[in-house]
């Protein structure tokens, strides 16, 4: 027998409502389109970086304060590959651009995923179930690996070139839309769709969802939850690496601190969405991205505080986030 869980539409409606409410405030349609695309692109990139964190928390009850390291490492990995591929990047055709970007992104994901595996194995495994030590250990990991990034890639920021075919913008109606942002939206949607299918339509996804609800029961049914943990942790780190590579290309530069700087926004997104909820994380990321761009245009002084304000409002409405997961 299949039981249908009623979908909670209210938080989902929040995204279009905010977007439409901003339209009269912004005034002109082309500006609004530009801002909305920018907001969605930013939201998608934040989602890629945040989804791993929230999934890891939901499944393993581990909040990784060193998540920002995977983001930085992903960006550095992509930068290392891209700076060696100048020939493909300057060719100007989409195909040659992709031939440079795909290896770069793969390198980012692989590097961040490998680091995630190391992290889970060496640092986090001994402290499962002890939140205080988890926070301390992951902070320690953050310090050490941030320094190691300096050791490997040097202390200075490095520029991350963007392939030529996806720089610049095109005109749609009267609105100027940056090409790269469209790409970010496409990649973000693809990642979200893949995650959704994986979680809801496959056996592994079923186990992960069951593990989020009740790990002991899954284990007693004979599944090795630890192996599942490692897999999810590596996948989450890889996603952070992908997000970091995209974010680095968006900013066109890479620093060791960039992950830590985004981490605050990521935490806000994860809190807004409800700790452990991937769908909530997606909605939260869209909200944060859109709001940041609208307020950045309407009231630049307020822009940086808009995230915090949004978080406070959401928590007043739903103290455990938009889509609270069973245990909290």
């Amino acid at each position: 027998m299949k039981t249908r869980i009623k979908t909670d539409w209210l938080p989902l409606a929040l995204v279009p409502v905010i977007a439409l409410a901003a339209l009269p405030l912004v005034g002109s349609l082309p500006t609004w389109v530009t801002l909305t695309v920018a907001g969605l692109a930013m939201g998608m990139m934040i989602f890629m970086m945040a989804s791993g964190l929230t999934l890891v928390f939901g499944l393993m009850d581990v909040m990784n304060f060193a998540h920002g390291i995977f983001i930085s490492v992903g960006a550095y990995g992509a930068a290392t590959v891209l700076t060696r591929m100048t020939r493909q990047m300057e060719a100007g055709s989409l195909a040659s651009d992709l031939s440079a970007m795909i290896p770069a992104v793969l390198a980012a994901v692989a590097l961040a995923g490998f680091l995630g595996w190391f992290f889970e194995r060496v640092l986090i495994r001994p402290v499962y179930g002890d939140h205080l030590k988890q926070i301390l250990i992951t902070m320690g990991g953050l310090i050490v690996f941030e320094q190691l990034i300096h050791v490997v890639w040097g202390p200075d920021m490095i520029p991350l070139p963007r392939p030529s075919a996806i720089t610049g913008s095109f005109i749609l109606g009267e609105a100027a839309i940056e090409r790269y942002r469209v790409l970010a939206v496409i990649v973000g949607l693809a990642v979200f769709a893949a995650m959704w299918l994986l979680l809801n339509r496959t056996r592994i996804g079923l186990l992960v969802r069951a593990g989020v609800e009740n790990p002991e029961m899954v284990e007693s049914l004979g599944y090795r939850i630890k192996r599942l943990f490692v897999g999810v942790f590596v996948a989450g780190s890889g996603l952070a690496g992908l997000g970091g590579a995209m974010w680095g290309m968006y900013q066109e530069q890479v620093t060791a601190q960039m992950g830590m700087q985004v981490l605050v926004v990521i935490f806000i997104v994860v809190i807004i969405g409800g700790l452990g909820s991937v769908g909530g994380c997606f909605v939260g990321a869209m909200l944060v991205g859109l709001l940041a761009n609208y307020t950045g245009y309407l009231a630049p002084k307020l822009a940086l505080g808009s995230n915090i304000l949004l978080m406070v409002l959401v928590l007043l409405w739903r103290p455990r986030g938009l889509f609270p997961i069973g245990k909290a």
Binding site: L132, K133, V151, I308
Partner: protein, 336 residues
């Protein structure tokens, strides 16, 4: 007398006692033993950070909650003095007003954060404080007409405090006094309740202690301690800026000092702060020698580069969390 002063919480280890007495004497006589500007700066920084770290230990070590907003309170203290001195003249009245406003603001924010987010789990509190602290840092850099933005504020103090000797002893005296007050707090019945909450929140609640109230009070006390440390640091430096008070790097420094010194042992903050500040100032010179000696070897000189000193303290930090949860002090106190 001594028992009263130390609230009956003796170091309980000969080596530790020797180290503590050594640090106390060195700090008390610093202007005479180490007359150079650099070493006096180091001594003042140690005194300020002992207080800052001890107040953080009240939260992390004794109550078992992780806050990332400690630098925010440190910064409020610094900016309280800085803004009052820079905008209202160099009188004692302005100084008192700045200090009072800083303490009141810290208390209010600590109370609000505590009541709103200490009901939920430790992780949630850590994330919320991180977000709030980041917001505060942005605020300080955005409101540049008031706070001086990224440049910070340089200001003049009342006549008497301009003397290096006087201001050093003000910093040292206040830090020492408040350290003893904190020692008193953790050894009071209130401190015992905090320990019981750290060990088992559920049982403490069942025994009739309101966990939220105790945690909130601890949070407020820690915030006030950090604010005073910020005030002292501003008085010593005659400067307040985001990098000296609000930066996330300082938060990481505080974590390193607490954990390496020893969580849940007030004396750990003395050792932690001393070792850290000394390492910060002198380990780099040592590492430069090692790095230069290894100039030909690949990667190794980079690992020992003077700017990488934090790497080694980070490794030490991780080892401490795993193997010596009570840090150096716990190790020294352990029966052999």
């Amino acid at each position: 007398m001594l028992t009263r002063l130390l609230s009956g919480d003796f170091p309980r280890s000969r080596v530790l006692t020797a180290l503590l007495v050594g640090i106390l004497v060195a700090l008390a006589l610093a202007p005479f033993i180490f007359p150079g500007t650099r070493s006096l700066n180091v001594a003042a920084k140690v005194a300020v950070f002992v207080l800052l770290v001890a107040s953080y230990d009240l939260l992390l070590g004794y109550t078992g909650i992780v806050s990332f907003a400690h630098t925010m309170f440190f910064g409020i203290g610094g900016y309280g003095v800085g803004i009052a001195m820079a905008k209202m003249g160099t009188g004692w009245g302005a100084l008192a007003l700045g200090i009072g406003a800083a303490l009141a603001l810290s208390l209010g924010i600590a109370l609000a954060i505590g009541l709103l987010s200490l009901r939920v789990r430790a992780i949630f509190f850590a994330m919320i404080t991180l977000a709030v602290a980041a917001f505060f840092q942005i605020l300080a850099s955005q409101l540049s007409p008031i706070t001086g933005g990224e440049d910070g504020l340089t200001f003049r103090l009342p006549e008497l405090l301009r003397d290096r000797l006087v201001s050093y002893y003000v910093v040292f005296g206040v830090a020492l006094a408040l350290f003893l007050v904190l020692l008193r707090v953790v050894n009071s019945p209130f401190g015992r309740v905090l320990l019981s909450i750290r060990e088992n929140e559920f049982r403490s609640e069942a025994l009739g202690y309101r966990v939220v109230t105790y945690r909130t009070v601890a949070n407020c006390l820690a915030a006030l301690g950090a604010t005073v440390a910020g005030i002292l640091y501003a008085i010593w430096l005659r400067y307040t800026g985001p990098d000296t008070t609000l930066s996330f790097n300082i938060m990481i420094d505080i974590l390193l000092m607490v954990v390496i010194g020893g969580m849940g042992t007030m004396y750990g903050s003395v050792l932690g702060a001393t070792i850290f500040v000394l390492a910060q100032n002198y380990l780099r010179d040592l590492m430069k020698l090692a790095s230069d000696a290894l100039a030909g070897v690949p990667l190794l000189p980079n690992l020992l580069h003077p700017d990488r000193w934090l790497l080694w303290l980070g490794v030490l930090f991780i080892l401490c969390v795993y193997y010596f949860p009570t840090g150096i002090v716990g190790k020294l106190r352990a029966p052999r």
